[in-house]
Amino acid sequence: MEQFLEIISKPDNIPIVALLVGVIFFSWLAWTKARRNDALAVPVEATLDDKVQVWPYLVRIEFLATIAVMAILVLWSVFLDAPLEEPANRALTPNPSKAPWYFLGLQELLVYFDPWIAGVILPTLIIVGLMAIPYIDINEKGNGYYTFKDRKFSILVFAFGFIVLWVALIVLGTFMRGPGWNFFLPWEKWDPHYVAVLTNVDLSEYLGIATRLPNNTLNPAAMIFGAVVVMGYFAVGPIYWIWKRNTELMQKLGLVRYAIVSFLLLSMGGVLIKIILRLAPTALGMNPVKYVWVTPWFNI
């Protein structure tokens, strides 16, 4: 625990602690305001009709905020020095080697996926998905006021993507990944000699289908099994469309928008499923899942 306190109080980790506090505070703020609005027939924001000029009434507040921020930065610089580490040495890399804090979520994904997927495909999907939001969000409600009732789907999906898959993974990567990228709970000491159990198996092996044949080539049966599982998972999108295509919402959304939304949503869920497949079996005394689908070109 002592070591955990030391880690969270390190100058380099202050942004992450601030992030944690900030995310909790603002989530709480939005949630209480949304709750209040949801209980009313008309949102509080809609009843305010007093409008003021930006100049000088907003700008003067912004000016004050600027001064406050500068004062904080100056004092920060007095108390905390730049957190420099040892000189770079390719023959002797630090253990654990960690990315900048804002990328630690992505680095954490490397535990569950191959570099090509964790480092290229998933970040690309995140950026593309964020860019697509204005085009796939057809719900006009919730403009200019806090609400949950009117935007349940978008808020839940965003909260899941941002808080669970981004912030939580950053916090995990910063505070709970120690030497050898091993997982340590806050009260455990980061032991460089820690020995972890390494017994990952592929999903197909649960059913007795070996991924590799005795001559070390891929087993086509395992490959087909993986393809069926992954494609079957992504088939949930089209099936749901066929089932619900005549509802008002689906009609309004249209096939293209639906395809994009469902693909992004399933990808997002897929990441979580893979994380659970890796972590949960250990707790149940089973072997963690390494890959669901192994092919000569990529592994998922």
Binding site: V52, L64, A71, V78, E86
Partner: protein, 877 residues
């Protein structure tokens, strides 16, 4: 308050208080930041202030002491003299002369000015004349003008000379008085010379700028990315007094450096401090500069003997470092302990194996002895160099089986018929053992003074206290007569024993029995399975790293490469089942009451534990094969400093000590001198000479070998002496052994001696050295006058009158042994060539007692003496 405020329309709210509060915080924060930057983060300013205060105080008190030391009567005397000189300036004689001189000087001024003007006019007139004559017109008028001016020049010049002559007359008088005053002033000032020198230092100290003192080595080392990196070093910003004599006992950080002679060749003003001491050069606060507060600084400051580890940054090829005695000792320990037998170590690529040959053992000793020895050698001989591999009974038996097998396969047999050893006298053998020099390397009969003087945890040759129960007498006789017959690469020399002497020694040594009552063991040695197991064990444990063993000639080094061990991270070290010691403990290792061991979980702690007990970190899963040495505390610390020096990071070639031919020669010789243990008896480059403790009278012990040895003896003589030592000092019972050196080894030793004396190897015809006739008869006369023969007796003289240390070699040997130039230098100043020698200097302070012969010239007289000595030898030749 805020609710009330929320009621006010935004346009009417006042933000003045916020503005004032935030601005005040920003302003005060900025002031704080500036103050923090210039004072809190620059403690060196305070250090400099207090340094100069201490320096001022010390210099001032020294100055006052210097003034107090002046004899007050001297002051009165010189002050009176000064006053008297001043009164002389008021006499009429002086004043009148001065007045007249002054008047004449102003006259001279006027004359000089007129003379200069005349010259200027003449130059101008000459210009006009030349211009006119070149234009072809008549220039007679101009020429006349020039001549007129030239006449005036001559006139004024004469006038000036006249005035100067008059001045000179008065000058004598004026100068006489003025000089007296100057002299009196200087005399008085002369009393204050010391005080004035302190004054000068005080003034310099008061003017010294308060600034960061930085040394930059633009091209000292490489970054991990092999780019040249500058080293910035600001240690002297606080450590200001490193070279200041008066700061000798000052508190840190102001103290003077304890090794000024080392700094003379590593000047901190140009070389900085961190190349030796490490630490974070650019940092300016103690914790960061020393590197302890900065967790990420990889090279914190080194303390104590560990500081010497950095010598290897530039001197990794040398095993003797003049100003780093502890590190020299560390390197010798590594060489003598044979670490390189199992580990690859930079700078120790191919030294000879330190252990004996293990073939033919059956002719030397019994299988039972081998078995016990393999099981734990320290049990038989606690001071053996052989470490304890702690083999269990089965493994020891297997190894014995293999050794016995190869012992029976080899075809050694003593040169003499069995039983030739018989008939010696043990008491005479004991006498011989003590006199002839065996004790230099071997301990026997409880005499341990030489071992204690050496101070290492191991002996360089086996202790013989129990040898009678170990070796076979036939083998021993053969071994003593000629050790190389049994083992062609042994370091054991031959002492040129006669058969009788050897018999006596054997008779003595076989009386040294093992008094322990050991149970008999039955060994199953013929079992091929056991032999195969022994073979595997010998290979696995790397016995061939130190021993030559039949069938193991191609074995490699069994353990890790240590060449970058000094940079190993503590995370890469396994501490086994040891408990961690607190980081603040000032020791690294502790044996607990419950039998467990605690070590500090640091690099230093790990190494300490490993060297203390190499099997310390053994666990159920991790086997450890390194044998257990029994190093002393001091040896462990030294070896650890050596290991700390093992890094791949070295300084750029410009800073490396050139590995010149001379240094190569020195190194080869140093290694040989450790290998053959020359340093056990002889002091070489300040190493060794342990045997001298045995002799109260140093004249009876082995002679020292000063650095001038190479310049002293003739190459041919040294060669034949090393090959087959001849008697130089007949009164010694101690013998220089015959080491049976190879020609190459003799060459190495010769080059080593020559390199120490800064001479090159060359072949000279010494007998053909010319003798100058003019020195012959003065030489003979001086030889008798200075009574050389008193201590240097010739062959047949009676030696009983003098003590051994007053005796000196027969001078008739000199012509075939010594270099003629050396004899001259030796006679002039023996102490310079060999500090502490009993040879007296006849020329005290460079003055010859005989002032007549050869004009009393010291060098000439020395040449004459050397000529005579040379002739003495020639007659003998």
């Amino acid at each position: 308050m805020f609710e009330q405020r929320a009621g006010i329309p935004v346009e009417q709210r006042s933000y003045g208080k916020f503005y004032i509060a935030f601005s005040a915080i920003l302003f005060l924060g900025t002031v704080w930041a500036v103050w923090d930057e210039v004072t809190v983060r620059r403690p060196w300013k305070e250090y400099q202030e207090s340094y100069y205060a201490v320096l001022h105080e010390r210099l001032d008190s020294l100055k006052r002491a210097a003034i107090e030391e002046i004899d007050s009567t001297d002051i009165v005397f010189y002050e009176n003299a000064l006053r008297e000189a001043e009164t002389r300036l008021r006499t009429n004689e002086y004043l009148q002369a001065l007045e007249k001189k002054t008047a004449l000087l102003s006259e001279l001024d006027i004359a000089t000015r007129e003379w200069r003007f005349a010259r200027s006019r003449s130059d101008a007139a000459y210009y006009q004349y030349q211009k006119t004559s070149l234009s072809g017109a008549d220039a007679a008028a101009e020429k006349a003008e020039v001549e007129r001016h030239d006449a005036r020049i001559a006139e004024y010049a004469a006038q000036m000379a006249d005035i100067e002559a008059q001045i000179a007359v008065f000058d004598t008088t004026v100068n006489k008085h003025q000089d007296a005053l100057l002299k009196a002033t200087a005399d008085l000032r002369g009393l204050y010379v010391t005080a004035d020198s302190y004054n000068l230092k005080l003034e310099r100290a008061s003017r010294a700028p308060r600034d960061i003192k930085q040394v930059m080595l633009a091209d000292f080392e490489y970054t991990p990315f092999t780019e040249i990196k500058a080293r910035i070093d600001r240690c002297q910003t606080c450590h200001l007094g490193w070279g200041e004599d008066v700061m000798e006992d000052a508190p840190q950080p102001f103290a003077k450096h304890p090794l000024p002679e080392l700094l003379a060749v590593h000047n901190p003003e140009t070389f900085g401090c961190t190349p030796c001491h490490r630490g974070q050069g650019p940092a300016l606060t103690e914790g960061f500069a020393h590197g302890f507060e900065d967790h990420y600084w990889e090279t914190p400051i080194l303390k104590g003997v560990e500081t010497y580890a950095t010598c290897n940054t530039c001197h990794s090829e040398e095993t003797v470092l003049k100003h780093a005695k502890p590190f020299t000792k560390a390197k010798q320990l590594v060489l003598e302990s044979g670490c390189y037998g199992c580990h690859e170590i930079k700078g120790y690529t191919d030294p000879p194996k330190i252990g004996p040959v293990l073939n033919s053992l059956t002719s030397k000793t019994t299988p039972e002895w081998i078995y016990r020895w393999v099981g734990n050698p320290k049990e038989y001989n606690p001071h053996t160099r052989m470490p304890n591999f702690a083999f269990g009974e089965t493994d020891a038996e297997a190894i014995t089986a293999y050794l016995v097998k190869i012992g029976r396969e080899t075809d050694y047999s003593p040169q003499r018929p069995r039983g030739s050893f018989a008939g010696g006298s043990a008491s005479r053998g004991k006498e011989l053992f003590e006199a002839v020099g065996c004790q230099a390397c071997h301990v026997a009969g409880g005499y341990t003074s030489i071992r204690d003087e050496r101070g290492t945890s191991y002996d360089v040759a086996p202790e013989l206290t129990r040898v009678g129960s170990k070796v076979n007498a036939d083998w021993l006789f053969d071994w003593l007569k000629n050790p190389r017959h049994f083992n062609p690469t042994t370091r054991m020399p031959s002492l040129r024993l006669t058969d009788d002497e050897a018999r006596n020694l054997v008779a003595y040594l076989v009386t040294l029995k093992d008094e322990r009552n050991l149970p008999r063991v039955t060994l199953d040695l013929g079992n091929p399975e056991k032999i195969a197991r022994g073979d595997a064990l010998i290979r696995e444990y790397g016995c061939a790293g130190c021993h030559e063993i039949k069938g193991m000639e191609r074995e490699g080094k069994v353990s890790v490469n240590l060449s970058d061990f000094g940079r190993k991270k503590v995370e890469q070290m396994d501490f086994g089942n040891t408990k961690p010691l607190g980081k603040t403990a000032d020791f690294d290792y502790q044996e607990n009451a419950d039998g467990t061991v605690s070590v500090k979980h640091t690099w230093a702690g790990w190494v300490y534990g490993k060297l203390k007990n190499s099997r310390l970190y053994i666990t159920d899963r991790i086997a450890q094969k390194m044998p257990i040495f029994s190093f002393t505390e001091e040896e462990i610390t030294l070896m650890r400093a050596f290991l700390l020096s093992m890094t791949r990071e070295v300084a750029l070639p410009t800073y490396q000590h050139d590995f010149t031919k001379r240094i190569k020669d020195l190194e080869a010789g140093r290694r040989l001198s450790v290998h053959y243990n020359c340093i056990q008896c002889h002091t070489l480059e300040d190493r060794g000479g342990f045997m001298s403790v045995k002799y109260e009278d140093p004249g009876l012990g082995p002679p020292p070998l000063p650095e001038s040895q190479g310049a002293k003896v003739q190459e041919q003589w040294l060669h034949s002496f090393l090959r087959n030592p001849s008697t130089v000092r007949p009164w010694l019972k101690l013998r220089m052994p015959t080491f049976q050196f190879s020609d190459q080894e003799i060459g190495s030793i010769q080059k080593y001696f020559l390199a120490m004396s800064n001479q090159d190897f060359g072949i000279r015809d010494y007998p053909a050295t010319p003798v100058e006739a003019k020195y012959v008869s003065p030489g003979r006369k001086l030889f008798d006058l200075y009574q050389c023969a008193k201590c240097h007796p010739s062959g047949a003289a009676d030696l009983s009158e003098l003590s051994a240390s007053d005796l000196a070699p027969d001078l008739s040997l000199a012509a075939s042994r010594l270099k003629p130039e050396w004899i001259v230098e030796w006679i002039i100043d023996p102490q310079k060539l060999q500090p502490g020698t009993r040879m007296p200097s006849f020329f005290y302070e460079g003055i010859a007692p005989d002032e007549e012969t050869l004009g009393g010239n010291v060098r000439e007289q020395a040449k004459a003496l050397s000529t005579h000595i040379w002739n003495l030898g020639k007659r003998n030749r």
